[in-house]
């Protein structure tokens, strides 16, 4: 089984090397004449104001939390789908209960307005 996975490490190394070479090529051949104006944040020609990294909206955080929960659900579903035929009705019912409980969670988030984006 390790034989099936070793090629993935090989392509990871090859891909990393190609990406690194591309970046280094640009650094090698490109000119380098930095000025304070060039290094200022680009804001369409307007003089930059305020900090570049402001705190983001809690919305994004909430989306990430919802994603974790439903990602676990999706992983279970995919993994069960591969064996669904062998598992038969028992497996189907077990998964149905699991999905219904999580659908309650989904509907709860929906009704609470967690899926709205204002």
């Amino acid at each position: 089984m390790l034989q099936d996975y070793l090629p993935l490490f090989v392509i990871l190394v090859v891909g990393f090397a190609v990406a690194l070479i591309a970046v280094l090529l640009g650094m090698l051949f490109g000119p380098r004449r930095p000025t304070p104006r060039k290094a200022a944040p680009y804001e369409s020609g307007i003089v930059p104001y305020g900090p570049g990294r402001r705190r983001m909206s809690i919305r994004f955080y909430l989306v990430a939390v919802l994603f974790i929960l439903f990602d676990v659900e999706v992983v279970f579903v995919i993994f069960w789908a591969a064996a669904a035929r062998q598992l038969g009705w028992l497996g189907f019912l077990a998964m149905l209960v699991f999905l219904i409980v999580l659908e309650v969670a989904h509907v709860y988030a929906w009704k609470k307005g967690a899926l709205e984006w204002d």
Binding site: P7, L8, I11, A39, P41, D71, W110
Partner: protein, 334 residues
């Protein structure tokens, strides 16, 4: 472990990575020419015959461009972000077969890098990792528009990843395996797009959102975000973001073709295994054409609508499709 096998892997990896890079170069030309035709223009046709050398000219230009690092940037992450972005797009197709086996010089060569028993989960996992480069690029740039673009992009990608994962469930249920080779072999007689039209549609839309293509190209809305997460990037580092986007398009087309359109399967592929890569290439070319066509036709979707579509329509539909398909599969098979 014999050394021949190791070098076979290295050569195949190089072929995949270089083919994807070449594919990226010509996908940009393909897109520019097709969009030009749709808009009744001609498109780039000066560099070489039919403009075929245009990508080369673009590449050389980008290599000789000055690269800027913004003053407030996190230098390490600013350097790493383009590499982290492009790497997942290069390795994601490692589990997608290009064909069956061929014999070269008495050695049986499989026309794919590897076929792992959790291939589809691998694809989903690598897709979820590709979020990092974008969020880090936005954060490291110290530019409020880049940060907002990166955040929007991340939230969009993780939301549609759920629908993407659920769209895989249909083909998995029908094939009873997570390996892409098994799924393609199960489509020998009938493509899964016929049996799973809903899953196909879900996959198509979710994959558009996943690779930030029109009409879901919110993170790069130039009118409001000046370009999005790569606003501060120039030269080859910018080229890597560009490369990641187009390679992801190709990867999405390859994966979609394998899951729903029979992958490398086609007439006479049993007798002439070399036809496999040709069929796959043709399917990918058609898929890319549709993506480009959509970009030329559809306006961009507003961000709140985009998120609502993902969470309120596509995710429940994906679940419904999975349950109904499972019911039928268990009914027929059990």
């Amino acid at each position: 472990m014999d050394a021949g096998l190791f070098w076979e892997w290295v050569i195949k990896s190089l072929i995949i990575v270089l083919m994807l890079t070449a594919g990226f170069a010509y996908a940009t030309l393909y897109e520019r020419r097709v969009i030009a035709r749709i808009q009744v223009r001609i498109g780039p046709n000066r560099a070489g015959p039919f403009g075929l050398l245009q990508p080369v000219a673009d590449g050389i230009k980008l290599i000789f461009k000055e690269e800027l690092t913004p003053a407030g940037a996190d230098k390490v992450l600013f350097f790493l972000a383009p590499i982290i972005t492009v790497l997942p797009s290069l390795v994601i197709t490692a589990v997608v077969p290009w064909g069956d086996t061929v014999v070269i010089g008495g050695r049986v060569i499989r026309l794919y890098l590897t076929d792992i028993n959790v291939g589809i989960l691998y694809i989903l996992a690598v897709a979820s990792i590709s979020v990092y480069g974008i969020v880090l690029a936005g954060w490291a740039s110290n530019n409020k528009y880049a940060l907002l673009g990166g955040l929007r992009s991340t939230a969009q990608m993780i939301s549609y990843e759920l629908a993407l994962g659920l769209s895989f469930v249909g083909p998995i249920l029908l094939a009873g395996s997570l390996s892409l080779m098994d799924i393609i072999n199960a489509q020998k007689h009938l493509w899964f797009v016929v049996l799973q039209p809903a899953a196909f549609l879900l996959y198509f839309l979710a994959s558009l959102a996943e690779v930030n293509r029109a009409p879901f190209d919110m993170p790069e809305a130039e009118q409001e975000l000046t370009a999005g997460y790569h606003a501060e990037y120039s030269g080859m580092k910018f080229a890597l973001f560009f490369m990641a986007e187009y390679i992801k398009m190709i990867a999405v087309a390859m994966i979609g073709a394998s899951l729903f359109l029979g992958g490398f399967m086609g007439p006479f592929v049993d007798r002439f295994p070399w036809l496999g890569p040709v069929y796959l290439f043709l399917k990918v070319a058609v898929w890319l054409f549709v993506m480009i066509w959509l970009r030329a036709t559809l306006p961009r979707i507003r961000y709140d609508r985009l998120m609502q579509l993902g969470w309120k329509v596509m995710f429940p539909l994906g679940l419904l499709n999975a349950v109904v398909t499972a019911f039928v599969v268990v009914l027929v098979g059990g």
